[in-house]
Amino acid sequence: MSLSTTFAEEQGGEVLRVSLVGSLDGTTAPQLDTDLTARIRSGIRLLVLDMKRLDYISSAGLRVVFKAAKALRAAGGSVALANRQPHIVKVFEIVKALPDLQFFTNDQEMDE
């Protein structure tokens, strides 16, 4: 089980689209964290995580997403989660109840 990622900048570098294919778990999350941290810079207004072909996410993966959302929010940007499949939505729904995890203000931010 692995994760492959494709980074694409759109709209003159204001939007960073990252396609995630495979499994975002304890073995693959650290690399994505490193890659996102390196690419989140001033000027990016929107990070789109395209989860159309993401098969699995665990708490290690959620942490990377939440960490990126916090970093972008602090820089005046935001994160959108696109094309989440039902099994990925399920995991986000479970943790949505946690008070510390209100990074996404509404469902529009969750799916484009």
Partner: protein, 201 residues
């Protein structure tokens, strides 16, 4: 005659951890009971000491179980997933939802043990899968430091910043949500954490 009752009384009065001392106290009691009378037959004592502790699986009474040891390192996750999925298939209960839920539960528990037990990469975590007609049982046994995931959700799991600390207990939260019962026991120098999940009816 010394008799069973006297033997039982002697044993109850001399409960000891040391098996040899336990045996000697029985011999002393017999000698004092005989009060110098000559011995008419030989005396044989067999003492067994059992260091094991019952698996919690015994309490949940699954009808079919399978166990495997995994080295305590993140890189073992894929082997763990594959083993669980294979087992579920063999028992014809591998619905996509159950496979996915148990995979997530197994990752969260296993990585918690790898991160907090203090085990080295050479140490192993024993994982036991079991089932009966209505549920699946997943048990993790490790010989790391005492750690009850039900009471002690880690405050920091990624890096050291306070930002990360706020979402530290995420894995434990997921395990709670995705399982129907959870048991923890520390005994015989081991952490035993057991989760139960009801099978769809």
């Amino acid at each position: 005659m010394f008799g069973h009752d006297r033997l039982a009384e002697t044993l109850a009065a001399h409960v000891a951890n040391d098996v040899r001392a336990y045996g000697e106290s029985v011999l002393d009691a017999v000698k004092s009971f005989a009060a110098g009378a000559s011995q008419s037959d030989d005396i044989t004592i067999v003492l067994l000491k059992w260091d094991g502790a019952p698996s919690m699986l015994a309490e949940t009474q699954p009808s079919s179980t399978s166990a495997r040891r995994f080295p305590a390192r993140v890189g073992e996750l894929n082997s763990l997933f594959q083993w669980i999925e294979q087992w579920l298939r063999e028992h014809t209960i591998a619905s996509p939802e159950l496979v996915s839920d148990l995979r997530l539960v197994a990752e969260e528990v296993f990585l918690n043990i790898v991160s907090y037990s203090g085990l080295s990469e050479q140490d192993c975590v024993q994982v036991v899968l079991g089932r009966d007609a209505s549920r699946v049982v997943l048990e993790f046994v490790d010989r790391g430091r005492p750690w009850n995931p039900l009471e002690q959700a880690p405050e920091v799991t990624l890096g050291q910043s306070t930002d990360d600390a706020t979402i530290g207990g995420l894995g434990v939260f997921l395990v709670h949500y995705l399982t129907d019962d959870r048991l923890y026991r520390r005994d015989d120098g081991a952490n035993r954490f057991c989760v139960l999940k009801n099978l769809p009816t």
